[in-house]
Subunit: 343 residues, 4 copies
């Protein structure tokens, strides 16, 4: 029986268990390896004409058409994606100029900062004993294992140092400004925040306070309150709406690539309505439609709200982003590169 | 063929279509009718020993035990619930003193305000033609139909008037303060915001900007910018963390009833970790576990993070909240009332 | 920690574990108690206008209309339903004359015979340790616990005795004939086979060999082969097609109530095509549509095959039969009884 | 709007619609192209450590280990797989000697025969209008389009001719014997039945009557009844149990690769119990566990029944077979070929 599948084995210490569990750090993908090594997979799957493949195939066509027509792409994803090696793939897409803006959750800041600072995350299992994991200081995010030392204190100390610097400049910061400042201070090439900062791609995080990063703003202010001479940082979440609005209003063409659901997905389509909706919309979700959740809502529903144009090409792909996204991206980008091969 | 199932029938005008579609307004439930009319359902289902019933049954036991032991209950839900008649049931639970705090999304403000101001929502279908709905000004939220006049402008004008008043008092408001002020101005007894305001139950909405309400703050400020003499409202999302922290730190016992996933669910368990986790945790979700989404994560996973106590009673119930919650609440509250029958 | 949640606790013997686990026998429901105690639940859920409730509500309307118009009802279900207390509810529906024919799997024979002969099944958990359960002789069917003595040998010895008698009559038997003979020999009023035998409702089980019952036919024949003087029983699965065909051809109106998927569901719609399709179709399934499985296929798909009429009323209800069926049946039968109240 | 998305457009005839819809015939995959073109995909996905990938990765390891250790492999699948290009991939696996026996449904006979005789199936959409499809004689199987001329009459006339020949030899045939005879008469190299016949791989179909093939046996017998001089074919489904039993009893090692659920999956694990269970078990399913369905049951559950060995390596992979199987097979077979590269 694998360690941790049952209760904590007698006589095995904390360190032995950690060693047994934390063996395979997950690694970030690069766009080049994905295109090169996965590039033909979608074509093979398509040939067989199978079932959910068809949605994926349409997603690749839509993404390709959006990119070919230089349509501005809003990319949304929840934080769990950034706890996997898809982080590097997204960073490369951003750095490659494919993405106009990112919309995500506060947790993306947490995992991107933690992993950029050397925090290792490991391949694990959904079925591990969570009581045991708690005892040995390992967090479980699905089947990704996050040793406590790879996470909380890394994020908190980085954020506190960041705020200490930023408060010298001004008191009030929007989430997208914080993203730039965080990204500028990270050196990991797989960092999404760094890629955004370098490429001038704004990161919108309307629910940023719901995270370790957000909590670090709170604890920074708490310590500022009790220690004289320190000032509180203020978060201005309204200001970012102006910035997002200006992108949406200026866009001649607007596309959405929405991975997963939640506030990130909603924020993309919400703002798209103020220009008459997205021109292209691709969503990947594992959530069913029948309970009326936003996460499970098909892109079709957004048409009734004016959040996706009646004339838009759109598709909702059912399944797991970590399986589907590399296949989708490889399929679309491979074809895009065939348009204009490097000379 | 029912109206709207296909393309827009020739010769049928906008008004005929609206009349055909908007026939059955959905109605808010009350706790009393749910307990009285659904109260025995769970016992019958349990007797048969069937499958997901077992999770529901355990949820009712846990909720009952939490309530009996006067454990503070954090209630989280996404906005789609408030677009249904479960809104009235939740309002009654809040008014009845069962809930210590509410954690929700910005959309809850939207739907609660809109419906409290008389905006009617209607029973519809998932399969309706969204292009047709868009043409006749009806939004679709799953299978709930939201006529445009029942929603956007109601929320915006209410919020603008609210802010106009509030700016006279002070410049900076937290989401939970705004919830109180909104709730005080609503007269619908089924309003969640009103029930919270009356009972002193704070409403936390960390992602409040992602909504019509949040957008109305933005547009209010835009208009203030161009018209001299008006001042901008500032949203302080950090301050609410202090308020939520104080509840969490003071709680001798803390329970979570988490309907659906997303930022609301995460915020409850996130803050619970700072006191060593929830003592009782009940989650209802339709999301699968296997894609690592927060929405699909089982309560068990939270133990590894210290967000649910290792000793906690906890359960994740798979399914649709709109089917399961009335059965769960009826089962638990019925038993609770049997403890101390009204004299 | 509850028994069996982890590995087998040291020092606890087989009997202690069995005692700890096998505490709550599940019980069969009756139609009367379901109608009486659950009868108002659907109306309350409908009022709130929530999400998957709408499918359930339509299912109740369709079932009611089919019953009111004396449409012949084909009822299909897989065997797991018969391992729960829904067995009694189905038996009462059959006995009450609501069902024209049953289509099911071989496992239905197994669980109905085992439970009718006094084999107790217990309320359990999905999360129990299956290695431990195997060691103590308890089978797990979802979260229903089946002690080995409540199952295999009960079915085998009953079937062997049955065949011993039947071989005196003739050599070749169809599954529907075997169902009658088995049902006639059972005395449990909650038995589906008994209810079918008593009411003259045929039971079709095209895949009957895939079961303990089917295997007992095989082992009976094996023993007949080695012992002189015994003759082999022959199973004629083709003959039942004639019987099913005659029902389908004679039906002036044909309805299907399909619980779950698989061969039982398929057999109903397959045969319905030879008369131009079902007039009414209600399916309940937890399977998603997107992988092209028959279990997940919506009733709509069957129209393209001529298995459901283009003019039919039909609906696919997403969710768990053990939660939904009592609510559906209670809702429909309650209204039906209001048509002609007992005098 | 694409043809058929709404109601039948005025003025467009049956042939125009068929032409518009039936444009892309799906094609069978070969093992070689899958290994060559998809072979690196699993490694890339694994590297990222993402979510359901981990199950797929374990499945590839288990399949590889089973094949390396010459463990006998039982392959089960429902008929919808054979309506896609995965048919060719399975045929190649069978022809390559990787499979000891096949367990499937009657529909596999239908689609394999129809497609082997030149019946073309087409890439389609789940969302097409089924009433329209019915009117133009196109069946929809998920999003695979089956023109009526590619299916029913092809299967029926082939089967009638087959039976006409077989009745000259003997009266009683088991499903596995019929599979051999059908396979011997097909010339399509992508045919699963042909591959099985050529390689001596038995095909078990316990529910064979539930199909067009099974119905053709019935109609053959009906015509024999009315026309003097013809004899009826008898189907012996009990005999195949002996054949399957002998494989199971003789196996020194037994593995199961179960695609989808239903009777095919159940028959594999059911028979495995009589030798103490499977040594290796890989299942792919889209069905959830929580409703107690066999299709959704995890391989773990089978341990409690003795259908999978307590010591077995086993995994249930959540998702769509048509996406996952090529990636799984490519990953495993590629490594297997590296063991002993062709010289």
């Amino acid at each position: 029986m694998k360690p941790g599948a049952g209760v904590l084995p007698m006589g095995s210490g904390r360190e032995e268990l950690r060693k047994a569990l934390l063996q395979t750090p997950l690694q970030d993908l690069t766009l080049d390896e994905v295109v090169e090594r996965v590039g033909e997979t979608l074509r093979v799957l398509e040939k067989a004409g199978g079932f959910s493949v068809r949605y994926l195939s349409r997603a690749a066509e839509i993404l390709l058409e959006a990119l070919r027509s230089k349509c501005w792409l809003l990319l949304s994803f929840p934080a769990n994606i950034i706890a996997t090696g898809l982080r590097g793939l997204l960073a490369d897409l951003i750095r490659g100029g494919y993405v106009k803006a990112v919309v995500t959750t506060g947790g993306t800041f947490d995992h991107d900062i933690a992993r950029s600072l050397g925090g290792l995350y490991y391949v694990g299992d959904f079925e591990l004993d969570d009581v045991m994991l708690h005892e040995i200081g390992v967090h479980r995010l699905g089947n990704v294992l996050v040793p406590s030392e790879s996470y909380g204190s890394l994020v908190e100390s980085f954020t506190h140092r960041l705020l200490e610097e930023l408060i010298q400049v001004k008191e009030t910061w929007s989430p997208s400004e914080l993203a730039v400042e965080a990204g500028k201070r990270l050196t990991d090439r797989h960092s999404v925040l760094k890629a955004c900062a370098e490429s001038g791609t704004p990161v919108f995080a309307p629910g940023i306070v719901d995270s370790a990063f957000g909590t670090a703003v709170f604890t920074y202010n708490e310590s500022a309150r009790v220690s004289s001479g320190k000032r509180k940082v203020r978060l201005d979440v309204v200001e970012d709406m102006e910035r997002l609005a200006s992108i949406v209003y200026e866009a001649e063409c607007l596309a959405g690539l929405m991975l997963g659901g939640g506030i990130s997905k909603h924020h993309v389509i919400w703002w798209a309505q103020f220009r008459g909706g997205l021109d292209y919309a691709v969503a990947i979700t594992s959530a069913p439609e029948w309970d009326g959740s936003l996460s499970g809502a098909r892109t079709r529903e957004a048409i009734s709200w004016g959040k996706v144009k009646p004339s838009a090409r759109h598709v909702t792909v059912p399944g797991d982003v970590t399986v589907l996204l590399p296949i989708l991206v490889a399929g679309a980008i491979r074809k895009l590169r065939e348009d204009s091969p490097p000379t």
